[in-house]
């Protein structure tokens, strides 16, 4: 900062000019629509006839809408499972790849990243085969284990639909976090491990007492990424269950989609999105602050 003091003003002006196309694009297609969603949430509107002003009516309705709150709860469960089965599992895998079988790390990383590259629609369609009640692989596996009682239509039953979707999410996004953690774990200096090895530390000790504290920044960043991603989730749920059966796997995005473009309750759909965004902001901020205070990110 101090280095640019000499020609501060002209630099700021140049910076502003270079940034202006990005500002304009984001303002027009991200910021303005978000504010507009707040405005639309004050109306009831079918998308065609004149909007009818509702005041806080949509918010009152939303507050008492159990489908919305359950959907939001599922988004949080997705986030929780992402922390365990994507972030934490990825950190374990990254440790193994870097510290235990480094010769194979590149090839493993490649295959873990395959689902990250492919469209969620393709992945969802493939998993519909895996979960097929008649010939699906999941049922076949339980049959082979002699657990015929566990065979079921995983995506079609309200008891299992949501869990089945969450399992697919874990498989799909894991690779991104493996990649991010491999880079972080690699950056931990060898000497730190050597010191621990002299004390006779095994992999388990080294993982928990060296790796995790040393990659705290990456843990915090990736957790934030996972939580934000979980609140955004749409395509996999849409293609696997579309929130069904009977809202059993509904998340906020699929509920908004149904309200806005199925029932044409555009105002209420805007309310759902706007409220979700406010809660996302508050949630992300709280988690960030908690992690900071808990010292996960610090070097202690």
């Amino acid at each position: 900062m101090s280095t640019s003091k000499g020609f501060g003003n002209s630099h700021n002006r140049a910076a502003l000019l270079f940034l202006s196309p990005a500002f304009l694009l984001i303002a027009a297609f991200v910021a303005y629509p978000v504010v507009y969603a707040g405005w639309l949430s004050l109306f009831s509107w079918d998308g065609a006839s004149a909007p009818i002003f509702q005041g806080a009516g949509n918010f009152v309705r939303l507050a008492g809408d159990p489908i919305f709150w359950r959907a939001l709860g599922r988004n949080l469960l997705v986030a929780l499972s992402a922390m365990v089965f994507q972030v934490f599992l990825a950190l374990c895998i990254a440790y193994c790849l870097v510290r235990i079988v480094p010769a194979f790390s590149r090839i493993f990383l490649f295959f873990y990243l395959v689902p990250v590259m492919v469209s969620e629609i393709c992945i969802g369609l493939l998993w519909r085969f895996m979960y097929n009640p008649y010939f699906g692989l999941v049922n076949a596996a339980f049959g082979a284990l002699g657990l015929d009682g566990l065979k079921r239509g995983w995506l079609g039953e309200s008891g299992t639909a949501f869990s089945a979707v969450v399992v697919v999410m874990s498989f799909t996004y894991l690779g991104l976090y493996v990649l991010l953690f491999v880079a972080a774990v690699r950056s931990v200096p060898e000497s730190v491990y050597e010191a621990a090895e002299i004390d006779g530390a095994g992999h388990f000790t080294k993982f928990f007492s060296i790796t995790i504290p040393m990659v705290g920044d990456a843990v915090r960043a990736n957790s934030l990424l996972a939580i934000i991603g979980s609140l955004k989730t749409f395509s996999l749920v849409f293609v696997l269950t579309n929130g069904g059966p009977n809202h059993a796997s509904e998340v906020v995005s699929t509920y908004l989609y149904k309200m806005g473009f199925g029932s044409f309750e555009m105002g209420y759909a805007a309310t759902i999105g706007f409220t979700q965004m406010l809660l996302t902001a508050i949630g992300a901020w709280l988690v960030f602050r908690y992690l900071k205070r808990a010292g996960v990110g610090g070097r202690t």
Binding site: A22, M117, S119, E194
Partner: protein, 278 residues
């Protein structure tokens, strides 16, 4: 780094566990690939076994039976448009943040991070209203502009991370020679930035190609649908011939996979550059 370690039981156990796990992760893709070589009769007889014959009928059926080719062209156009806009805009912005480091940079970074955290569906209803007003609903451009806007923040961070690696003397020297700020960018920065722009373009291509929410909502005409959206229609229509269905899924998945196979290094670098920023 460090001494070569002895291969132990631990290594073997870890290797076996990781192999089993990664097989589980990629199994649906492997199964998809070999199943497309089956006939429907063979598929129905045993769903999970390897093909006994080598039939390309499924690909012929998928390509001729549906509008996949048209969907692919639409995806390609939207991908090209959104990627070009995003990378151009983000290169300028990333350069400005890395090289000028304006006083108000922390505010900009916070704003970009916030924009990254906003779920696209929050903007869905307003965007439909806006696009309809501008006559862009049900057009390629109507998908391109919002898609580009939502991908700009993370792409800025990718480009900023690249420009941060360049020594600032590079630009100061040109400045001493009296070059204008624009010509420093165009003549000095842009040529060096080409590989980084390429990298950012590759990941954007994959994101846009796979995107579903905006295309499914903004486009109604079958003739303008993208591949993932068209694929869901296609699957509904071909529910009885599974190898054809799988071949269609494979056709939709192949472009990003080919990009990944050829540009693995660039893609992983871009994902690291954009995400490490947090």
């Amino acid at each position: 780094m460090g001494a070569v370690r002895r291969w132990t039981v631990t290594n073997t156990v870890v290797l076996v566990l990781l192999t089993l796990h990664v097989l589980l992760v990629v199994f649906p893709f492997i199964w998809m690939i070999y199943s497309t070589f089956k006939t429907n009769k063979e598929f129905m007889r045993s769903v999970w076994s390897l093909p006994t014959s080598f039939s390309l009928d499924a690909y012929v059926g998928a390509w001729s039976g549906g509008a996949l080719g048209g969907y692919a062209v639409n995806s390609l156009l939207i991908m090209a448009g959104a990627t070009i806009i995003t990378v151009a805009v983000a290169t300028l912005a990333g350069y400005a943040l890395a090289v000028y480091r304006p006083r108000w940079m922390p505010a900009v970074e916070l704003g970009l991070t916030a924009a990254m955290a906003i779920p696209a569906y929050v903007a869905l209803v307003p965007l439909v209203v806006m696009l309809r007003g501008a006559g862009l609903l049900d057009t390629h451009m109507g998908v391109v502009l919002p898609t580009a806007a939502f991908n700009v923040p993370v792409t800025i961070f990718i480009m900023q991370a690249f420009f941060n690696t360049l020594p600032r003397e590079l630009f100061d020297a040109a400045r001493m020679d009296g070059a204008s700020e624009w010509s420093i960018f165009a003549r000095v920065a842009l040529p060096i930035a080409r590989p980084a722009m390429f990298t950012a373009a590759i990941v954007n291509m994959i994101w846009v190609w796979n995107d579903f929410l905006f295309p499914v909502v903004f486009i109604n005409s079958p003739a303008r649908k993208t591949l993932p959206v068209g694929l869901t229609d296609f699957v509904g229509e071909h529910i009885t011939n599974y190898p054809v269905m799988l071949a269609a899924i494979l056709i939709a998945a192949i472009a990003p996979l080919v990009l990944f196979i050829f540009f693995e290094r660039q893609i992983t670098a871009a994902l690291l550059g954009g995400a490490v920023k947090e």
